[in-house]
């Protein structure tokens, strides 16, 4: 068989991949191929590490951010503008997070901010009792650090996203959404309006509007999102590899004279972080800087405080901030176990 037929066969065999690649390049669904001015109107679940960084870089010259809201997706319960009310007059806050954030992720972000000569005056970190299980940066394109932080090649960086794009669990919902804009697949594509504030990168949860509209029905209609639960004291999860990262965080905060507030949020399943873990966190991050809201308490007992089992609502975040900054009693009337 000659070269011509070989080339035709090769082209045909590669055709589906070439089509997928073409769609990817034209659409730039993850917003990593071309530079963008706005990230708040994407219908694709974006890499929060990348979005936060790009937004920060584009705004830092005009807004002197010196306060950073960091941690995992539970930061959606905390709003930068509400946090600023407890800070200094000229303090401006910015949210830079990752879904399922890890200690290494925090270290990398803070070091990147230091490198950008950011003032780390105030840092509010929101995590959960199980955020210390995995210490390293999460795998996958959706958690990878931007190129100017990680230093990886353009080819490697883009390959990760191309790979994510053709993965069926992304590709199929994405193509469905392409043909039906109302189609939603949680964690992949959505049909919402804005999902983040264009200045502070605060999360805008579309469920707030739904709750406003439906009221109590919101929870009665979503029973499966609120499974049964029972209180449990968990085993320790902080090991030497996590301690190394906590030590790094301590050095960063000490170096920058940072006012740190470290919150372990209320878990819907009523799980209580182990006191040994809390002791370690306090030892490295400061006795007065670590706040534990896990276990069975006023927040966790009330299911109306949650959008679903994974995330609590801003009414919880607002109250937590009020308690911390007004030095109000942190005794949350921990309820007697049923």
């Amino acid at each position: 068989m000659g070269m011509k037929k070989f080339l035709i066969k090769l082209f045909l065999i590669l055709l589906p991949f070439l089509i997928a690649l073409t769609i990817y390049v034209i659409d730039d669904p993850f917003m990593v191929i071309r530079s963008h001015t706005r990230y708040d109107d994407s219908h694709v679940a974006l890499n929060e590490n990348m979005v936060g960084w790009e937004m920060y870089k584009s705004e830092k010259d005009s807004i002197h951010f010196n306060s950073f809201l960091m941690g995992n997706s539970c930061t959606q319960a905390f709003k930068c503008r509400k946090w600023e009310k407890y800070l200094g007059k000229d303090d401006r806050a910015f949210r830079w997070i990752d879904n399922n954030e890890t200690l290494e992720g925090l270290c990398i972000k803070l070091k990147a901010l230091e490198k950008e000569h950011a003032e780390l005056k105030n840092v509010l970190i929101i995590l959960d009792w199980d955020s210390f299980n995995k210490v390293e940066l999460r795998n996958g394109a959706i958690h990878s650090m931007p190129r100017d932080i990680s230093g990886i090649s353009e080819f490697t960086y883009q390959s990760k996203y191309i790979q994510l794009f053709i993965y069926p669990s992304f590709f199929i919902p994405y193509m469905r959404h392409k043909f039906n804009k109302n189609y939603t697949h949680v964690g992949v594509v959505n049909n919402y309006d804005r999902t983040r504030d264009s200045i502070t990168n605060d999360a805008i949860n579309p469920y707030d509007k739904i709750i406003e509209k439906e009221g109590e029905k919101y929870w009665t209609k979503r029973q499966t999102e609120f499974p049964s639960r029972h209180y449990r004291m968990m085993d320790p999860t902080i090991y030497p590899d996590a301690i190394t990262k906590l030590d790094t965080l301590r050095s960063i905060f000490k170096r920058n004279n940072t006012n740190l507030t470290f919150v372990i949020g209320p878990d819907y399943y009523l799980k209580q972080i182990n006191p040994k873990d809390v002791a370690i966190l306090k030892r490295y991050l400061g006795n007065d800087n670590v706040y534990d809201f896990t276990g069975y308490n006023n927040y966790s007992a009330e299911k109306h405080n949650y959008y679903e089992k994974g995330h609590y609502r801003p009414i919880v975040g607002d109250d937590i901030l009020k308690r911390i900054y007004s030095k109000k009693s942190l005794d949350l009337n921990k309820k007697a176990l049923p």
């Binding site: 795998n139 990878s144 390959s159 790979q163 053709i166 069926p168 030497p240 590899d241």
Partner: protein
């Protein structure tokens, strides 16, 4: 440029088209230019050194062949060996940067001159052909170490476009990419941590890292070799195999007939055989001494430091031991039967090899002994730590990938799968190709690492 890089893909693609478009008399030139670009892309000094060593080897070969006096030939040959070994030792052990591929093409040069000295080969008269023999980009980085009789004749006749050979090569490259990107690089993430941050891991995790490392190393290096051989095939060249199902070996001696074959056959033919011949009057003692010298040299080839020597010597000692206990091996087979007995011996061989690789991977005696000290069945919190931090998803992917590789290799040995795949009807082939490409694209780790043997 790495075999898994975009730059390499572009180079091979352009070279491929130019190679088959130009006239046959220019094809050697196309490959040589591509090889120079490949080597120079890393560092122009690497290219200069490689061309220098290759040119000197060419001249030495011509002189060796021309020289009539026996004594002069011996001196010239000895001088050549001293030069090549000296240059290799200098670069390898000077603590500065090691020119890429030097361990491989130096050994190729040594083999070439030795074969001329022994009268087995004629010196290559064509300078450019010889350069291509030494610098061919498909095998430059980490072998296979090609004997002159294997590669030089192939370079004499320009290759025509052969669909079967080319598609065979592409299938092999795909297989190599799966081994490297799906199996080796996913495992690397788990194992590297144990070696670089031992204080963070439990005893059982050390055991798992030790047990899994041979698989990572095999997938990495045999994956590289498959890509190298496959790339050669794209240009009609048949490069030598480096692996032959090493994990079915029932003795360490057999393992080394199946693992990094071009290197192990090289040390067998150019070190072990001459040394055993010299010591043969000492009987078994002579064999033992030869084994220790040979495998010690093998260890030194792999790296600077005692841990590499120990790695080599362990192999030699085990083979010496095995030579003396054939009775025990035969009893195991007799007692348990060929299948179960054979399996027990395979397991034993694998475990010994895995243990010896601690010295290879750790890189220093201190880290090796520290690693061994940590081996135990203790966990920090639960048996789930055995997954070395890999998610269940990755454990399943790598487990399946390893099984697929083992099954494929077993069937390939029986039925020559790679070739017969090419003969199947189009729809069967295409379903298979799409499945494999899809598996590679969705589960491969594209952000990863150099090939392990690049460091040599």
């Amino acid at each position: 440029m790495e075999f898994t890089s975009l730059a390499f893909l572009i180079l091979v693609t352009i070279t491929f088209f130019v190679y088959y478009i130009v006239g046959k008399q220019f094809r050697e030139c196309v490959l040589l230019v591509a090889s120079c670009i490949f080597i120079g892309y890393f560092n122009l000094w690497f290219l200069a050194i490689a061309i220098g060593i290759s040119s000197i080897t060419y001249l030495l070969g011509r002189f060796l062949e021309k020289e009539n006096k026996r004594k002069s030939i011996a001196w010239l040959y000895s001088g050549s060996i001293v030069f090549l070994v000296g240059i290799w030792t200098f670069f390898r052990h000077n603590g500065l940067i090691i020119p890429l591929g030097i361990s491989f093409y130096s050994f190729q040069a040594l083999s070439y001159l030795t074969e001329i000295y022994w009268g087995e080969e004629k010196a290559e008269k064509d300078f450019w052909k010889f350069q291509l023999y030494m610098l061919l980009f498909a095998k430059f980085l980490s072998g296979p170490i090609e004997r002159p009789s294997a590669l030089l004749p192939q370079l004499q006749t320009p290759k025509k476009f052969d669909y079967e050979t080319i598609t065979f090569g592409m299938r092999l490259i795909l297989l190599g990419l799966i081994k490297k990107l799906v199996l080796a690089d996913n495992l690397a993430g788990a194992i590297d941590g144990v070696f670089s941050n031992p204080q963070d891991y439990s005893g059982i995790q050390f055991v798992m890292a030790m047990l899994i490392y041979p698989i990572q190393l095999y997938a990495d290096f045999s994956g590289y070799t498959d890509i190298a051989i496959g790339t050669g095939s794209l240009f009609g060249l048949k490069l030598s195999p480096n692996f032959n199902r090493p994990f079915i070996a029932q003795t360490t001696a057999d393992l080394w007939r199946r693992w990094h074959m071009t290197l192990s056959f090289w040390v067998r033919d150019y070190i072990f055989m001459p040394v055993t011949s010299a010591f043969r009057q000492w009987g078994k003692t002579g064999i033992f001494i030869s084994l220790l010298i040979t495998f010690g040299a093998l260890g030194v080839w792999h790296g600077v430091g005692m841990s590499y020597v120990v790695y080599g010597l362990i192999q030699g000692c085990i083979i010496c031991y095995e030579m003396n206990v054939t009775v025990i091996r035969d009893s195991i087979i007799k007692f348990f039967g060929k299948k179960i007995g054979g399996f027990i011996l395979m397991l034993r061989t694998y475990l010994l090899f895995a243990f010896s690789l601690i010295f290879f991977r750790a890189g220093t005696m201190q880290s090796s002994l520290n690693f061994i000290k940590h081996l135990s069945f203790q966990t920090n919190s639960s048996w789930k730590e055995m997954n070395l931090g890999l998610s269940d998803h990755f454990c399943i992917i790598t487990g399946i990938a390893f099984l697929v590789v083992l099954i494929f290799e077993h069937l390939d040995e029986k039925y020559d799968l790679l070739h017969i795949t090419g003969k199947k009807t189009a729809w069967i082939r295409w379903i298979l190709y799409y499945t494999l490409i899809f598996a590679l694209l969705t589960t491969g780790k594209f952000d990863c690492n150099d090939f392990i043997y690049l460091q040599f």
